[in-house]
């Protein structure tokens, strides 16, 4: 009885962190041993919104962080709109990344007693609209997003002093929940938030994630774009955090595809050209980029890569106007919007300024606003709660999201996840792997991709690829220097996701700077299925893998692809004097998109323009080559 009372007192008082420490000790948290090298790939989502995000709650999400964590760990939860939701396989880690601006505000406005809002007509109107109906709630969210883009939000939501107290309280409670679900060795729950600047509706968003336990983070609270829209100010906040706490933090840019050329621009936020100090800070703070997610894919665009027949994936609906659709994006802006081009710009800057701000690895994540980290086509819970799995119109309805122009439901992708080669499933090991860029992106399927570069490999090393890779070379995300003039060699393998589709091919994508100082790119097919019959043509292009998708059943035939592709490859066009990067793209055979499963479930007829068949893929982090000094 006494113990019950003590626990009750603990919960009632705000001494939550102290109490959870006691619990952790009782839980017998044995030290988790790290393996000598990363033996296992861990799967996660670094970009999930819960009901603490102003827009997620406004869109109707009523699932909190605890539900999000339970779902990611593989438990069944009931989604906001009533459908039972469960992942086919648990994830290994999760970063809940709620918007830092006005965190928890819509929830607070709706749940506040009406009397407390009587003096603020603005908030009172929103309170009433939200309580009135789902449509009212959606309208409030649209106004919020619009207000944030235009800078017209009411002061009580934007004033840093007024929000600080509310945020600190919420952040402390959040840390307690995150800790309760963090189980080293089994499942890792990170502290994090999303920094959401969008000047004129151009997306400059970053997810910020911490390596540290909540109780080590002191009085740090999330940094908002209302503090500043200039990402350099975010980096200052990160510097200050590390100095003050001795902790570690990184930022992950995403949706460069709707940044109107600004995510990887050649100048700073204020328009001045980027300099060495900016480059050093950016390279330190932003070691990885989220290249694929619900709101499209940012690897490349047919305009930038006209010779890449796979560059159009996840582009439709996202390349015409910026995030809020308030500004058109001309193709000339794409260079600053897509990842491959940014990697090339990085090489050019290495030569002109002496350092590379865009030396990043690649991950995927969901950006789901439903608290449900789904990325499987046949188990997709949508961008937000109004579009969960039981909304049969969701594929075909316009999805304005507070903007004036329509994007349609089917433009949204059921993508993606982050794959991390770490030495254990712990906050420390996963974070450190991200810092060294030993990570890759997938659009949802969990294919296992290995990629090593070095000068001492031979074709025989594919027999024990991982061991040779780590002992004689560097893994994805690493650096090759010198090499005595010989072309770098690579060991590459891709194992299909046994619950998804077999593999079409592995490609190496090379970027380099030519003798005139201009960056170039080339795509090499290095391994593919049915190699006896599929021979490259004169242009180096491979015949397409057969399309076996049966749209009437939502099935395909894995026998047309390879369960695994393993290869040794050496750059045939190497020039030892030229800076270069190499990354791997793995393509699955064609499979149905999520609207096809919706059509089967709800007996819909999909119009012709809806994309029904796609080739899901993985993007590895690059390996960079720098000539000997």
């Amino acid at each position: 009885m006494r113990k019950t009372l003590m626990l009750a007192a603990c919960t009632a008082a705000l001494a939550l962190s102290a109490c959870s420490e006691i619990n952790n000790e009782d839980g017998g948290g044995a030290e988790i041993a790290n393996t000598e090298y990363p033996e296992q790939v861990f799967w996660g989502d670094t970009h999930l919104h819960t009901d603490n995000s102003i827009d997620a709650f406004g869109f109707g999400n009523r699932l909190d962080a605890e539900n999000a964590l339970r779902f990611a760990r593989g438990e069944e939860v009931t989604a906001t709109k009533g459908a039972k939701a469960k992942l086919s396989r648990p994830l290994d880690f999760l970063v809940i990344a709620d918007h830092s601006d006005a965190m928890g505000a819509t929830k607070a406005i709706m749940e506040a007693p009406r009397i407390a809002l009587l003096t603020n007509k603005f908030l009172l109107r929103w309170h009433d609209m939200m309580n009135e109906s789902d449509e009212g709630s959606l309208q409030v969210t649209a106004e919020l997003i619009d207000g944030a883009a235009k800078g017209t939000l009411p002061e009580s939501l934007t004033d840093p002093e007024e929000t600080r107290e509310r945020t600190a309280d919420l952040w402390e409670k959040h840390g307690e929940i995150v800790n309760r679900y963090n189980e080293p060795g089994k499942f890792t729950a990170f502290m994090g938030f999303e920094y959401t600047p969008m000047p004129q509706g151009d997306n400059l968003h970053r997810v910020v994630m911490f390596r540290d336990d909540p109780e080590e983070m002191g009085d740090t609270i999330p940094y908002g774009a209302l503090g500043s829209q200039d990402p350099e100010k975010l980096w200052t906040y990160m510097d200050a955090y590390e100095k003050k706490t001795g902790g570690k933090v990184l930022a992950i840019p995403h949706n460069s595809n709707v940044s109107n050329g600004r995510m990887f621009a050649m100048n700073k936020f204020d328009g001045s050209p980027i300099d060495a100090a900016y480059i050093r800070t950016r390279a330190l703070r932003e070691p990885i980029v989220e290249v694929t997610q619900i709101k499209g894919d940012s690897e490349s665009h047919p305009f930038l890569s006209p010779n890449d027949e796979f560059a159009s994936f996840g582009v439709t609906g996202w390349d015409k106007c910026n995030l809020s659709c308030t500004r058109d994006m001309p193709p000339e802006s794409y260079g600053g919007s897509y990842v491959r081009e940014a990697l090339k710009r990085g090489l050019e800057l290495t030569l002109s300024v002496g350092a590379n701000p865009f030396k990043f690895g690649m991950i995927g994540s969901t950006d789901s606003h439903t608290s449900l980290a789904t990325a499987d086509e046949d188990n997709f819970f949508g961008k937000h709660s109004a579009n969960e799995a039981n909304n049969k119109q969701r594929a075909l309805e316009p999805q304005n999201l507070g903007t004036r122009e329509g994007r349609f439901g089917w433009h949204y992708l059921s993508s993606g996840y982050a794959a991390v080669w770490a030495t254990s499933n712990t906050r420390e090991a996963i974070f450190d792997a991200m810092m060294r860029r030993e990570v890759y992106a997938t659009t949802g399927p969990r294919m296992q991709v290995r990629f090593f570069g070095g000068f001492d490999f031979s074709a025989d090393d594919t027999a024990d690829l991982v061991k040779a890779g780590y002992t004689k070379g560097v893994p994805m995300g690493g650096d090759l220097k010198g090499g005595g003039g010989q072309a770098p060699k690579f060991l590459i393998s891709a194992l299909m996701d046994p619950e998804s589709a077999s593999l079409d091919r592995i490609q190496v994508i090379k970027g380099w700077v030519d003798a005139t100082g201009k960056s170039q790119e080339k795509i090499y097919n290095v391994s593919w299925s049915d190699a006896d019959n599929r021979k490259p043509g004169g242009d180096g292009k491979l015949p397409a893998v057969p399309n076996t998708v049966d749209l009437a059943k939502g099935t395909w035939d894995n026998a047309t692809g390879a369960p695994e592709l393993v290869t040794f490859w050496q750059d045939p066009d190497f020039d030892a004097a030229q800076n270069a990067f190499y990354y791997v793209r793995v393509l699955e055979i064609p499979t149905p998109t999520w609207p096809v499963y919706d059509a089967l479930k709800f007996n819909l007829t999909l119009p012709d323009d809806v994309i029904k068949i796609q080739q899901e893929r993985a993007y590895s982090s690059p390996i960079w080559y720098t000539p000997a000094a």
Binding site: K3, G28, M110, N131, S156, L495, D497, P498, E499, P563
Partner: protein
């Protein structure tokens, strides 16, 4: 006895009620004067001032403040008259807001205050399947490729007859042998379908084919260690999380059920 009665709160209450009743009876009206009293006190005035400052960035003049107060009085009068006329009934906006408020209050009341080991142990014993440590498998698998079932069965028959596994094994970078491996880790490598089929097999000779997303496999289980019962220390945090999550959901249902029991509910077409 009388002395005790005088100190009894119930008696006070009944006495009070009797007085009120006597007043209405004597005055010939059913009008409670408290219903017709409006008091604007200092805190109300402060609140009105703060609202003004938020909207206009300055303090109101005396005339403006008087207007605010008059507005407040008018609002209150119409509010009460509206209630007397029953205008709050059948209004979907008001109904919805009261529903939200009530649900919020209920959820606050039922918030959990934590559990001790006895409760958690009991919870664990009630849900043994959730916390049993998984069975462990010692087994060997060879990948036969993307071949059909009858072909796979032929090869497995040959394996049983003593054929060298290497002669059938197709290259695949998944491990060939596994020691004391739990189902979840097997599913990580080969998918759920493979793990489920493995569970149906007994230790002994070569068996299968087991089908995974990769194709067909031959499997030889050498030992199967049944799942042990976990101790509370092994899984305490998970048990506590599950207990409290379930409790919260249950209590939400319970508090609705408790209220629902007070109502006589009929639905056309529902038995």
């Amino acid at each position: 006895m009388m002395h005790k009665l005088i100190r009894e709160p119930l008696v006070h209450f009944l006495g009070g009620a009797l007085l009120v009743f006597a007043f209405f009876w004597a005055s010939g009206s059913n009008r409670d004067p408290a219903d017709y009293a409006i008091h604007i006190d200092e805190t109300d005035i402060e609140r009105l001032k703060t609202g003004w400052v938020q909207n206009f960035r300055r303090t109101p003049t005396q005339a403006e403040l008087d207007a605010l107060i008059d507005q407040e009085i008018a609002e209150e009068i119409y509010y009460r008259e509206a209630l007397r006329l029953g205008l709050d009934k059948n209004d979907p906006v008001i109904r919805r807001r009261l529903f939200t408020k009530m649900r919020f209050i209920e959820s606050g009341e039922t918030a959990d205050s934590g559990a001790d080991d006895t409760i958690l142990k009991q919870w664990m014993d009630d849900h043994p399947e959730k916390y049993a440590l998984p069975p462990l498998y010692d087994f060997e698998q060879i990948y036969l490729g993307q071949i059909d079932a009858s072909e796979a069965r032929q090869r497995i028959d040959q394996l049983k007859a003593g054929a060298n596994p290497d002669s059938f094994a197709q290259p695949l970078s998944t491990p060939r042998t596994f020691a004391r491996t739990e189902t979840a880790d097997i599913a990580r490598q080969f998918g759920e379908r493979f793990a489920e089929q493995l569970e149906t097999l007994e230790p002994g000779d070569w068996n299968g084919p087991i089908v995974s997303g990769f194709g067909s496999h031959a499997v030889r289980i050498s030992a199967k260690t049944p799942g042990q019962t976990a101790t509370l220390a092994d899984v305490r945090q998970r048990v506590a999380n599950d207990w409290s999550a379930t409790r919260q959901a249950e209590q939400r249902d319970k508090s609705l059920a408790r209220l629902q029991a007070e109502y006589d509910i009929t639905v056309a077409g529902r038995p």
